[in-house]
């Protein structure tokens, strides 16, 4: 039994040592003045949709400020906010706006934040290339076919379409993409139960590309990369091109965001520096990874916002 006592003692000593060291590690590095080499951490988490842009920004940023440690996680929009509202992260990437519950939790924890739009994404409505009847679809038809279980065949959607059963492919309900579709198209009505859901957009691409009577939706970038095997539909007569997405003429254009913790902006010079760098480069980098840049005016507004938050 003395062996047990010794090991118990050892365990408690170890845990004290671990906690002690962890506390020592919690202090954030202090960066120098603007323009100097900065250090410290920039912690970012959230949407996997926004991730490719932020990965590109962080990649470029680390060439400029090699001593700043930038981490970008992909807990998903909701998972990211869970960490953000407790003050664990500096930025939370989101493919939708923050929800009321999440905002309330942030307030309860005394976390103040600011929303910054970084780029635009069009939600592509896609069908199989063998589908030679549908070229365009209206928002009402989309709502009807995705919520009404009585709609079984293409004919039920529009009378001159063939009498063939439709297969539905949709992103998983935890994704920000689904949340956006839910708000813009479904009006918060439950999505039809026979829709195939997947968290992996590439699974949806394969599904629609391999099923003649399929319809699905996902980020425009996934359509562009698979243009050969998919066909996109005009929505309310508007094609999902970059110009139509930027001008918001395409009805399923959505901004994608990052939320920044106001306290981080005031206390951490590396966060301010990163925010400026992100705002200056997000547009071009977004285009490079398959998204659409906002109009320059929007980035100019962001820049003002960032200056205000930094207290300058």
């Amino acid at each position: 039994m003395s062996w047990m006592k010794k090991s118990a003692l050892l365990a408690s000593i170890t845990s004290v040592a671990i906690v002690g060291a962890a506390c020592g590690n919690n202090e954030e590095g202090n960066g120098g003045a603007e323009g100097d080499a900065l250090s410290g951490k920039v912690v970012m988490d959230g949407s996997s949709t926004v991730f490719p842009i932020m990965e590109a920004v962080a990649e470029e940023y680390s060439a400029e400020q090699p001593d700043v440690e930038v981490t970008v996680g992909v807990s998903g929009t909701g998972g990211g906010f869970k960490r953000f509202v407790t003050g664990e992260t500096d930025f939370s990437n989101a493919s939708r706006e923050i929800k009321e519950e999440e905002a309330a939790e942030a307030e309860a924890n005394g976390v103040e934040y600011t929303e910054i739009a970084v780029a635009l994404d069009g939600l592509a409505i896609v069908v199989n290339p063998e589908n030679d009847w549908a070229d365009d679809i209206t928002m009402d038809e989309l709502n009807k076919m995705w919520t009404d279980m009585n709609v079984k065949t293409w004919k039920d959607v529009r009378s001159d379409w063939p009498d063939e059963e439709i297969s539905f492919f949709s992103p998983g309900k935890d994704s920000g993409t689904f949340d956006y579709f839910n708000e813009a198209v479904l009006d918060d009505t439950d999505v039809r139960q026979d829709a195939q859901l997947s968290e992996d957009d590439n699974v949806l691409v394969t599904g629609v590309a391999g099923t003649k009577n399929a319809i699905g939706f996902f980020g425009y970038a996934y359509y562009i990369e698979n243009e050969g095997t998919l066909k996109s539909l005009k929505v309310d007569g508007i094609e999902p091109t970059a110009e139509n997405v930027t001008s918001f003429e395409y009805p399923l254009s959505r901004p994608i965001y990052t939320y920044v913790n106001n306290a981080s902006m005031q206390e951490k010079p590396q966060v301010v520096n990163f925010a400026r760098f992100m705002n200056e480069n997000a547009g071009a980098l977004a285009e490079e990874v398959g998204y659409v840049a906002m109009e320059q005016a929007s980035y100019d507004e962001n820049a003002k916002l960032i200056d205000e938050l930094a207290g300058e």
Binding site: I18, V19, E59, T71
Partner: protein, 303 residues
């Protein structure tokens, strides 16, 4: 002359070869059928495995090179590498192995050699076996609330290692118990009869004989652990990180997270990068397993 002849006749009557062969025919056929069913099982498993390996190597083989191992991830597939993920996974392994060895083998020794055989002990044993079946994401949640928040370790390498370590512990304990149990009682008795204490017996006699089994258990458990993505995402491990860990409290990313991220990208080149990442992870696992086999053989020969 008459006697042996009649005896022979009698024997012939006892074993009627025709009847026997007729009666065992169906059993022999069943035997054949099952042999082929089992063979088909093996071939199916091997086919699936070789298809997977072929798919991975044909897609990712050309992407594995020194730059791939040395570079940070990038939006440009040609420049992308998995250096931080590789280093992160190596850190995790270095922390998990001693952790599960000390705690897991310790627990197994206590349960097998010291604990009284009563209801409490068997209750604990049943619960440990049950823990082995708990989904990994549950360990991720535990890691998030306990290590990240309560203990204040953040999303560090230490948190990752503790979370994955906890996840591997049940397997290690069960395997170690099994290994300790298979050590012959005579060896223990001989040692005790020579005047050795229980601890001396355990440390010098039982443990060395059980080491091969214990190592196998640890390797299996750790191999499973370093292939996990879900618990690491849960504890907030990074997907992109601009630095590599320099101590156990640094933030980190790991190979499975990087691979998972690449598979979810729209561009085809990233799918190839994911395949290349899988090759690196597989090589790491094979190296680890080979080391285990080497250690095992060395000890098995001695005892």
């Amino acid at each position: 002359m008459a006697l042996p002849n009649s005896e022979f006749k009698n024997t012939k009557n006892y074993i009627d070869h025709e009847t026997v062969s007729r009666r065992i025919k169906s059993r022999l056929r069943l035997n054949e059928i099952f042999k082929y069913i089992f063979l088909a099982g093996l071939i199916f498993a091997l086919l699936v495995l070789s298809t997977l390996i072929y798919d991975v190597i044909s897609k990712g083989g050309g992407w594995v090179n020194l730059d791939f191992l040395r570079n940070f991830p990038s939006r440009r597939a040609e420049q992308a590498g998995l250096y931080p993920a590789l280093i992160g996974t190596l850190w995790l392994m270095m922390l998990i192995v001693p952790m599960v060895f000390i705690v897991g083998v310790g627990a197994a020794i206590y349960l097998e050699e010291y604990a009284p055989k009563n209801r409490l002990t068997s209750f604990i044993e049943v619960n440990i076996s049950n823990l082995a079946g708990v989904p990994s994401i549950v360990f991720g949640l535990l890691g998030l609330t306990f290590f990240v928040r309560t203990a204040g370790l953040g999303s560090s390498v230490m948190t990752g290692a503790l979370t994955l370590g906890l996840m591997s512990l049940p397997i290690v304990i069960v395997a170690s118990q099994e290994a300790l149990r298979s050590v012959k009682m005579e060896l223990r008795h001989a040692s005790l009869a020579m005047g050795a204490s229980k601890w001396q017996t355990t440390f010098n006699v039982v443990l060395p004989s059980a080491i091969p089994g214990i190592i196998t258990g640890i390797i299996l458990a750790v191999s499973r652990a370093i292939g996990e993505t879900a618990p690491l995402i849960m504890i907030g491990a990074a997907t992109f990180i601009s630095t590599t860990p320099n101590n156990v409290f640094s933030d980190f990313t790991a190979l499975p997270i990087q691979i998972y991220n690449w598979t979810s990208r729209p561009q085809a080149e990233f799918q190839n990068l994911a395949a290349a990442g899988i090759i690196v992870l597989m090589t790491l696992l094979i190296t680890m397993n080979s080391a285990a086999i080497y250690i095992r053989n060395k000890y098995t020969n001695r005892h």
